[in-house]
Amino acid sequence: MTAAESSPNLLLAAREVDYHLGGRKILDRVNLQVHSGEIVTLVGPNGAGKTTLLKVLLGIHPSHPPQVWRKPGIRLGYVPQNISVDSVLPLTVSRFLKLGRESMGAIMETLELTGVVHLHDAPVHGLSGGEFKRMVLARAMLGRPDVLVLDEPVQGVDYAGEIELYRLIGTLRDRFGWGVLLVSHDLHIVMGATDRVVCLNHHVCCTGKPDHVSNHPEFKELFGDHVVKSLALYHHRHRCDDHGEHVTLKRESPI
């Protein structure tokens, strides 16, 4: 066990994860750590292996030999990327949450936390993108997770809804002390609402505080100069309001 893994705050770690699919190497010796109370964001181009990495960490894709370390006894909550419910399947919001053993009281409480309690009796297929994601988030929270894993949580959500949703995830993290691992495309919002960024393109290109990562040459190469410049601009504006604490680093793994 390395020094980092003896840290009592470490919840979930990928250690030198290699993953092949159909003869192609999707993940190449990927290392990643999630600590309690920390929001780690995975960024990278399409097809970089972000979703695959999440699935390996969640045990959906088993790795042989095991390359994933979980703190014994921890629970993971999962908000998948492409989840939808066909209208031919009649399902209300509370029934969607009740696919396990959860009590109605816990369900209502969780829906309250994610702000969709008024929709508990609404049919799932009538929800907006943002409402749907909040429902899926509530379902993931019901299992009282230690680590919450979210794959593109804002996909299909409008811009205002995106900011709201990230803020909600941040608030809930503060309240419950979860480790949060999320995948996102939207660099602008991510950079403001995350503790540590991991830039993935089959291998880990760079990792660190948002500021550090956005200045990294490999990051600039992956996302292009214009994106990086607009990020800098965004940061500048973002810091002018009182959200400066968003980019403060909670804890960085010892190097």
Binding site: L58, P80, I83, L91, P123, G143
Partner: protein
């Protein structure tokens, strides 16, 4: 009413009680054509059963399961579109069944009965088999209900929550094969899928929960069997197709109700 009508009616009710709830999953998982393919393979199962002097129902279950097991990896490989593969296996196995039966000139079978059902030839043993088999299928389905529902909504989410997805999938295929073997007697190989999907689809607009859809699917199936058999009795129409027509009429009427 004659005794044989009573037996037919009981057998039909038993089959409908099972095919309604199971059919909901066929509809939710978009497996109508998949079920059809498994059913068409049933004729090959009948032919094999006759050839090997084995139980015909067993033959149908075995061949349907084999088809499902062959299909799953083929679909995953995605060299051909799913419907192409299903079409090939569906018509291929049906034709193979007919060809094999053609070779057995010494056996005289009622081919129309297998293809379109012969509910009026149902025996007491058939009814007992349907009640026992149906009871087994329903109790397994009830046990697997929540994990199967979660898998239907999102397979990876189910996996992440520890649902043994592959195992449940296999059991589900086996249940479909069993129901196909039971339903074959009532409406025949070519119409089996209709008993799975039409009552379930007709129930959709009446309900707000998956469980209610299963219950109403069963009830609508039972109503279809009753109406179809009554028509068959009074107007001398073919029983299997009459049941399917009754189910279709109920489905069309259900469209008048706005979806809940």
């Amino acid at each position: 009413m004659a005794d044989f009508m009573l037996l037919s009616w009981l057998a039909g009710l038993g089959v409908a009680a099972v095919s309604g709830p199971l059919g909901c999953f066929v509809v939710w998982r978009r497996m109508a054509y998949f079920g059809d393919t498994m059913a068409h393979g049933g004729l090959l199962g009948v032919a094999m059963g006759l050839m090997l002097h084995a139980n015909l129902t067993l033959g149908v279950v075995v061949v349907s399961c084999v088809i499902a097991l062959v299909l799953l990896p083929l679909q995953r490989r995605q060299a051909f579109a799913s419907d192409t593969l299903l079409g090939i296996l569906s018509h291929g196995t049906l034709s193979l069944g007919l060809v094999v039966l053609g070779f057995m000139s010494e056996v005289r079978i009622d081919l129309m009965g297998y293809l379109f059902g012969d509910i009026l030839a149902v025996s007491m043993a058939d009814v007992i088999g349907i009640v026992l088999g149906g009871g087994v299928v329903l109790s397994i389905l009830a046990r697997l209900w929540n994990p199967l529902l979660l898998m239907t909504i999102h397979e990876d989410l189910a996996r992440a929550e520890g649902v043994p997805v592959d195992r449940i999938h296999l059991i589900f295929m086996l249940l479909i094969a069993l129901v196909i073997a039971m339903t074959m007697k009532i409406v025949g190989i070519l119409l089996v899928t209709s008993m799975l999907i039409i009552p379930a689809a007709a129930a959709r607009n009446l309900v707000r929960s998956p469980e209610a859809m299963a219950l109403f699917g069963a009830l609508i199936g039972m109503l279809s069997v009753s109406l179809g058999l009554a028509a068959s009795f009074y107007w001398d129409t073919p029983s299997g197709p009459s049941i399917v027509v009754a189910a279709m009429v109920i489905f069309i009427s259900s469209l008048l109700i706005p979806q809940k």
